[in-house]
Each structure stands twice: as C-alpha cells, then as structure tokens.
Symmetry: C2
Subunit: 232 residues, 2 copies
C-alpha cells in the first residue's frame, strides 16, 4: 500500500518517540545506540524510536519500541522532553517525544549488541556524532539523569537486584562525575531506610567481602505517596 488514505483538513506533523537507554557497566555509564540502515543519516548512530500509533499513548509507544528494538521489558522510563524544530528531520515535519530509560545492564547484556546486530552500547564519553538532533537530546538526557539522581532513588534501576555499597557508590560517582566519601555516602544512603541488608557477603571478585543490599521498592512507594523526599 502506498496510497495516502489518512486525510485531514489541516497539515499534521508525524509524531514519534525516541528513547535514550542508559546502562551502567564496568564502572561506566553507557547508552544504547542503533546504527541507521536507511536514509536519512544512513550509517549514523541514533536512539531507538518509532512512530506513535493511534491506539497507544506516548509512554506505551516508548515501551513498545524499546521492547521491539532491544528486547528490554519492565524497565524504568520517564518522559524527557518534546522536540519540535521545523527542520529536525529532512523527510518532513516530525515531533519527537523523548524518553529516557534506566536498565539493569546485567539482565540484558546479551540481548542487544550481540549477534552482529546493529545495536551497540557506548560509554557516554565515547558516543560518536549522532543522527538528527540526537546529540542535543543526549545532552539533555544526561543533565536530567544527573539532576534527578540527587533527589530521587532512581540509581537502583541501573544496578542488579542485589548490589554492594561500593557498586552503588561507583554508580553515583560516575553519574555525578565527582568523588564521594565512602563513609558519608553509606551513611546517607542507609538513612533513607530504602535499602534491605541481605546479611550476605560477596565471595568472588570484584568487591570481595562486601555486603549485598537491595532496594526496597515497596517502602519507597509507601513513603513517596506520603510526600517524603529523598535527597542523596
């Protein structure tokens, strides 16, 4: 079918969602990029995304595209910003509602980037020039993540269910680009009351002897509904 069967009285832009997928691995913050196989920007890297369908809202669209392109499911997403510049897509007028996702890379390391796929994880310091206005989108996404991790416990979304305090600290240090004192960090994190201590220590490397913790999602929901804040 190439007939244009959807007609309107006034012109309408196309609407897409794009998703900036963050992962944390080997002490680095990474984003998942897809190498474009078609024009425009063929061969360039870009964020996964696609067209909004008429039976889904933009959250659902972002989650669907995320799943279709990377196999990732049940992840944290949040709307980032809507980009609407007239010339941002050479094919025509396209509005993009952008999202960012935080995923537990340990769970999904195998899905994307494998089998010579066109998806690949890039440390944010080594992201190549991107298609469309995606460089700008990435900058905004990083700024949002950096700002938000300070006052909402979203960092856990980037770690395995069970993690150690040094791992968590390393994540914070990486995202915030600053060194943190081990004892003060531990104190602050623990006094949120949102960590479950598993009383179990790591056997092998790395982080030998470190205690395992996990994030108490239920407690967080309870407390945040009562209006508590969690500055870290």
């Amino acid at each position: 079918m190439e007939t244009k069967t959807y007609c309107y009285e006034y012109p309408r832009p196309a609407v897409t969602t794009d998703c900036i997928i963050f992962g944390f691995d080997e002490g680095e913050l990474k984003v998942l990029l897809i190498k474009r196989g078609i024009e425009p920007f063929i061969g360039k890297w870009a964020f996964p995304g696609g067209f909004l369908q008429m039976d889904e809202n933009s959250d659902q669209c972002a989650l669907r595209e995320l799943y279709e392109e990377t196999g990732v499911k049940n992840v944290f997403i949040e709307q980032l910003y809507t980009f609407s510049d007239v010339d941002r897509d050479p094919r025509g007028r396209v509005i993009t509602i952008s999202y960012y996702a935080l995923i537990k890379l340990s769970d999904y390391r195998l899905k994307a980037g494998d089998d010579a796929s066109n998806a690949e994880w890039f440390p944010i310091s080594k992201v190549p020039p991107l298609a469309f206005d995606h460089d700008r989108i990435l900058r905004i996404a990083i700024a949002r993540l950096r700002g938000k991790i300070r006052y909402q416990p979203i960092g856990f979304e980037l770690l395995p269910e069970k993690f150690t305090m040094p791992e968590l600290q390393s994540l914070y240090e990486t995202v915030l680009e600053m060194q943190l004192d081990r004892r003060n960090f531990r104190k602050k994190i623990l006094e949120t009351g949102l960590l479950i201590d598993h009383n179990e220590t790591v056997k092998g490397l790395p982080h030998k002897g470190a205690k395992y913790f996990s994030f108490d999602k239920k407690k967080y929901k309870e407390l945040s509904e009562k209006g508590f804040n969690f500055e870290i």
Copy 2:
C-alpha cells in the same frame, strides 16, 4: 473549505500546545483560564492553546497562542510535559505539548479578564473543574513551579521590574505554601548576588518604607552559563 486536503500514508494525531499562565496578585497565585465557546466542554474553563502550525516549533506556537489569546508578549515560558492519552479529546487523537508561563500581572492586568471577555484569572485554590485533562495538567504545572522556584530564580518573572523584599517573600511563601523567616529569607536572596538595590524606598502603602530591588538578568545569564546554581 471543508475538503480534507492533507493526506498521509499513516494516521497522525493532531498536535496542539496549551499554556498554563501563572500570575501573582494580591498575595495570591493565579492562573488565566478561558471559557470555552464551542463543544466539546462548551462553557467549561480551559487553558489557552491551539494547533501547531507547520512553520513554527512548539515554543513559538505557545508564544503565538499566548499573544493571540491574551495580548501577552515577552514572557517567560518553559515546556512542561506532553500529554498523549488516547481519549483525552473526544474529537479525536490530540497530542498536547504543554507549557507554563510566568507573567508580571501588574503589566497585563488590563488585557485579559476585562471588557466582558471570556478570559479570567483564578486563584489556584479556586479553580473550577476544567475541560479535557486540564485538571491534571494544572496539578503538574503547580508542582513544577513549586519545585523549580527553589533552585532557579524564576520568581522574579511574576513580579514587577521593581519590587520590595516583602513582596518577593510573599510570593515565595505563596508558591511554596510555607512561612519563611524574614531575616533568613533576605539573607539567602541577597547572597545570590542577583538583586540590584535601588536605594529607594516605597512612599505609599503597601510596603511603606521598604526598599526597591530588581532582578539582575544580565548577571544571572553570565553566572548560569558558568554553571552556578541558585538554590533558595
């Protein structure tokens, strides 16, 4: 013309912008609402807004609609959130990129709400039930304003060029819904270095004897480009 001349291969949603316009007057935070003259929701109050045109981005659209519907120009606007639920408009699929604006009510009190127009200022505690999903949008806008005023000097956008310290404090107390200590507030605000002291006192009521200040926009630009923060 009623012919549908704009045709596409896939269905597209309509895209609009809506603007939540905040003003501060008589010690109250207010929003500007427009009474709908057509279905759906005829007779109900809603935020001003309209359809995105193909030669403008969403910022420009929000500013244009703002000007057309209220005569307001040169104001602070910021993108708020994009709403995309399937059933949010009974006429069909509509995506709304929402903005909020902060205006100096003193400058514009005459334009809207006068001459039996269909625009009116409502204190946020007395906003009637709104059309579409605008109740939800308002809640989100208020939360954003409340959150943002703490770490960015946007409160000044709601006051006249020259204002007194008690006026500024009253604004903060109203938006944050909390009492603030006069001396501590003054100290914090002044140590941002962003206020110009006019060494001139108010003659008449109210705020007799209070000093006039104004916001140093240039200095703010300089400093914020260097990455300074302004928590208040």
